[in-house]
Amino acid sequence: MGLVKTLSLNYRVNLLGLVSALLLFYTVSSNKPWWRMAGGLGGEKTFSAEISPFNIALEVLGKPVTVPILPYLNLAARLSILLAAATILTGSLLASKPWSKPMMSMKGLLLPILFPGGLFIGLSLASSYIGANLPLMGESTLKYEIQYGGLSISTETAVNAVLTEEYWIALAAGIFSAFTKAIHNRIAEQTDSAIKGG
């Protein structure tokens, strides 16, 4: 209980929660991608994908690919994490109040856990659609046959995919929010017993 007492400034403020909230605020305000894929050589891009739950940018041969629903899904994810960060911050500052317990959201962890799974499913669908393998991480060569004007054109594109540091920051924020919830439960137990003890 000593560690919890220290991390909560004598059961008054959840310090880990403050860190978690700040990391979540950073994550939600950043437009940098969590995952990036680029196809092409020598600084030229045949295609590129820059994806995070808050922003999705796809380009093929220098032209954007747009899906109307995506900006709205991005906005929903941004609002959810913004809400989680705000409630964690408020709950952490009011840690001594028993009603602050439901404010400790786990959404900050859920998103970075679901993100690679969503990418994997998306890449599997895209790979089966184009008939070539797109990597989740690392480098590969995409070999592809294009039928154009009755001609068969065989192409080779170097592909590079990487999870960016923004993703790892988001995951760290999520892990912090899980610890925050655990510590908050301990603080709540302590507060409850103090109230019962009079």
């Binding site: 196809g39 032209k63 690919v65 899906v67 109307p68 109040k97 065989s154 192409t155 080779e156």
Partner: protein, 174 residues
Amino acid sequence: MNKTGFVKALMLLLSVAASFAPVIYALNKYEWNIQAMVMPSYSPPKVDFRLEHSGVKFEGGQLYVAFKLVNLGEVDVTFENVNAAAYAPDEEALAPVILDKPVTSHSNSAEALILKISINEASLNKLLQYFEKQDRINVGIRGEASISVFGTKARVPVSAVFEISLTDIVRTMS
């Protein structure tokens, strides 16, 4: 309802609103046409190349065939290599054809693309036989070009025809 219950209910309400309000707004905006919302839209760049024969030159046992490569599209292309063959009017293969030097064709511009046909004594004699019957003959070039577009390497079938006369060869040799 106690305070904890109230906060729980409020949190649930806010979470549901944050998650679903933008999607419901989008559905409303697209008049609940889900297909229109999930269909990707993409306008590929215009690709339009024209190859116009612009001259021949015979030099050092090589026949240089110049083309004007006109790029009317939106895509820059680098022709890195050509692996083709020249064919006589009766479809007999005359000689191998390669690209003299790599050419980058920029959007809305014209570049000179020169193909080098390696003529040896046998193929020269074969060529001269056709001129015994006619003044001018059509020589076809067919094969593959290695190109680079937006960082992708591609092998594209190429086909071109040019007209050549004995006078053209003699003039460039003198």
